[in-house]
């Protein structure tokens, strides 16, 4: 028997903070102090994690397959770069929000194209939009700097107080703070009735429409939000590296992003974060083995993951940790990746 209060109870239980989650964030914070020589790559991972979380919002929760998510990343990156370069908005946090909003506007405008049609049409339209923006950025090279990218960006101190240092320490903690705040927001969103309705749409749009969920409006809303997140990730990229080049729009970036999410698992927000860590480590590993051909191994990883099956793979990975957890905390505490196919 599953009554309304029952459903509400389970939804609330899901939404509550677990010890594991608190531990996760503490570990992330601890990493910031434990590896002071690795700020650059850790910042990179945080950025990727935020970007992946953005894709998770639409892929894992709303079931929209996108091959052009780099479009919003790129718009955010260029917006932040231009704002800083021309001194329009000097304060980084404010510029970050403005850049995010710019991507959000684009997301809102394009969401009407994306909600039409089936998976394949969506793939095409998202990919097409990213390619279109790349072509535009190349065309208006007097604004974007063309293939050279935006150069000579100088970041002002955050809130006018904390300057960016050359070791990337500020950049790291700045990115971490942004990621954490946005994570809190995303967590709130996906556990709200709005988030639950998205899952209903993902499982069966027709049924969702039949029980009175405005399917298209919900999809537009989440797509716009995801664009905002991706824009922020792009802006962080520009602010922490002080460059913005054409490859922010590249299709490989969108494809890599999918891999990140597939490694981590979709539909529970942490997938992007964990996936980003593993992906960067894999990339480092492959590029030390074969500097020029690491793409081959990334491709192989993708193929193997799909052939083995994402669910099975996640079960294998969690087998040993779960054995330990079961010993300590009992059967109920075991961890599982909530798998969701679209």
């Amino acid at each position: 028997m599953s009554t309304a209060s029952d459903v509400g109870y389970h939804a609330q239980r899901q939404a509550r903070w677990h010890y594991g989650e608190i531990a996760f964030w503490l570990i992330v914070l601890a990493c910031g102090f434990a590896f002071p020589s690795r700020y650059l790559i850790m910042t990179d991972i945080l950025r990727l994690a935020l970007f992946a979380m953005s894709l998770d919002l639409i892929l894992g929760y709303a079931g929209i397959v996108s091959l052009g998510h780099a479009a919003f990343f790129g718009v955010g990156a260029y917006a932040a770069g231009l704002l800083a370069l021309h001194g329009i908005v000097k304060e980084p946090v404010l510029a970050l929000i403005v850049a995010g909003l710019a991507a959000m506007v684009l997301g809102f405008a394009t969401s009407f194209l994306v909600i039409r049609g089936v998976d394949l049409t969506r793939l095409m339209v998202t990919l097409g939009i990213a390619l279109l923006l790349e072509a535009l950025a190349e065309r208006f090279s007097n604004i974007t700097g063309g293939t050279d990218g935006l150069q000579g960006i100088e970041m002002q101190p955050i809130f006018g107080e904390i300057p960016f240092d050359m070791f990337g320490k500020t950049g790291f903690f700045y990115s971490l703070a942004v990621l954490f705040l946005l994570f809190l927001l995303a967590r709130r969103v996906v556990h709200s009735p709005f988030g639950l309705s998205l899952r209903a749409i993902k499982n069966n749009p027709l049924r969702a429409a039949a029980i009175g969920i405005p399917v298209n409006r919900r999809l537009i809303a989440i797509y716009t939000l995801a664009a905002f997140y991706a824009g922020i990730a792009g802006a962080l990229f520009t602010q922490t590296t002080a460059i913005a080049s054409l490859d922010v729009f590249a299709m490989e970036r969108s494809a890599d992003l999918m891999l990140v999410l597939v490694i981590g698992g979709t539909g529970y927000l942490y997938g992007g974060l964990i996936g980003a860590v593993i992906f960067r480590m894999l990339q480092e590993l492959f590029s030390t083995i074969t500097p020029q051909y690491w793409q081959f191994w990334i491709g192989l990883v993708l193929v193997v993951i799909v052939l083995v099956g994402r669910q099975r793979l996640h079960r294998w990975v969690l087998y040993v940790p779960n054995l330990i957890i079961r010993q300590i905390a009992g059967r109920k505490a075991i961890v599982a990746v909530p798998e969701s196919d679209s």
Partner: protein
């Protein structure tokens, strides 16, 4: 006026080439509802086989073309039997990930074997240069492409419309379940069609080295073009993708000639506009159900 005709001619040649490259993909999508983003990799394989045969082993160009077809078809059928068939029932996301993975692997592998620079196939002297026909400049190579691709299209249309295999294939595309209920061996039809489509892509790849440029990034660069052909053209018939290819070819050539500054802008805009206007493709039913 003559410039317009020359452009039209180039556009038609380009479009025909795209059709040969992409028609295999249309069938794959229509028949098995399988999103194969690695289609360009088969084209690239054909192109490189042809290049090695002609440049390194001194085969005549026209003898190497059939081999490009055969080798791509062989790779296609091997991969279909080993890998692809496990994925027909999986979600689109899985298919996309899998085929992107394959594409990455093919790019890196070709880069490793042949280097990353663009390759050219040595053409026989008879195919080089152009001649004037009533003042319209006609490239010999492009004329050959139009002839070969035109003949292929007619042959394909005949096979689909007149032969027993063609009617089986059409039945399987229209409704795979009903078709298998009638005793048609759908997986077998599919495997054969898949191999044939890959072979055509390989042939297209060999022909396109001169026009589109052949380098290891070919599958990524032209993925969008193949997808445009398929989504815009639909998969209910062979005419849809054919017209879509011609439209795309002429549009792209004209766009690059008249508004060179806009670059590839023209076709992307065209595609998005068409997909907004007719989300299911210009010509009838869409590929994906």
């Amino acid at each position: 006026m003559t410039a317009i005709l020359t452009n039209l001619f180039d556009g038609v040649a380009y479009g025909m080439l795209l059709f040969v490259l992409a028609c295999g993909l249309a069938v794959t999508l229509g028949l098995m509802n399988f999103v194969n983003l690695a289609h360009g990799a088969f084209a690239m394989a054909g192109g490189y086989v042809c290049m090695v045969l002609v440049n390194r082993m001194g085969w005549p160009f026209f003898a190497a073309l059939p081999l490009a077809f055969v080798s791509s078809a062989a790779i296609g059928i091997a991969l279909e039997r080993m890998l692809y068939r496990h994925l027909y029932t999986r979600s689109h996301l899985d298919q996309v990930l899998f085929t992107i993975g394959l594409t990455f692997m093919s790019v890196a592998a070709v880069d490793y074997i042949q280097g990353s620079s663009r390759v050219f196939i040595n053409l026989p002297a008879a195919l080089q240069g152009q001649f004037d026909l009533f003042g319209v400049g006609i490239g010999r190579y492009r004329l050959m492409i139009i002839v070969i691709c035109g003949l292929l299209t007619i042959a394909l249309q005949m096979v689909l419309a007149k032969t027993r295999f063609g009617s089986r294939l059409r039945a399987a595309v229209d409704d795979p379940r009903a078709a298998s209920g009638l005793g048609i061996n759908v997986p077998q039809v599919f495997a054969f069609t898949f191999a044939f489509g890959c072979g055509l892509a390989g042939l297209g790849g060999a022909l396109s080295a001169e026009i589109l440029g052949l380098d290891p990034y070919f599958p990524l660069k032209f993925m969008i073009y193949f997808l445009i052909v398929v989504t815009v053209g639909g998969s209910s018939s062979i005419t849809g993708p054919f017209l879509a290819s011609l439209l795309l070819g002429i549009g792209d050539v004209a766009g690059k000639y008249y508004v060179p500054k806009m670059g590839p802008f023209v076709i992307y805009t065209m595609m998005i506009v068409i997909l907004i206007w007719r989300p299911n493709g210009l010509f009838g039913r869409t590929a994906a159900r």
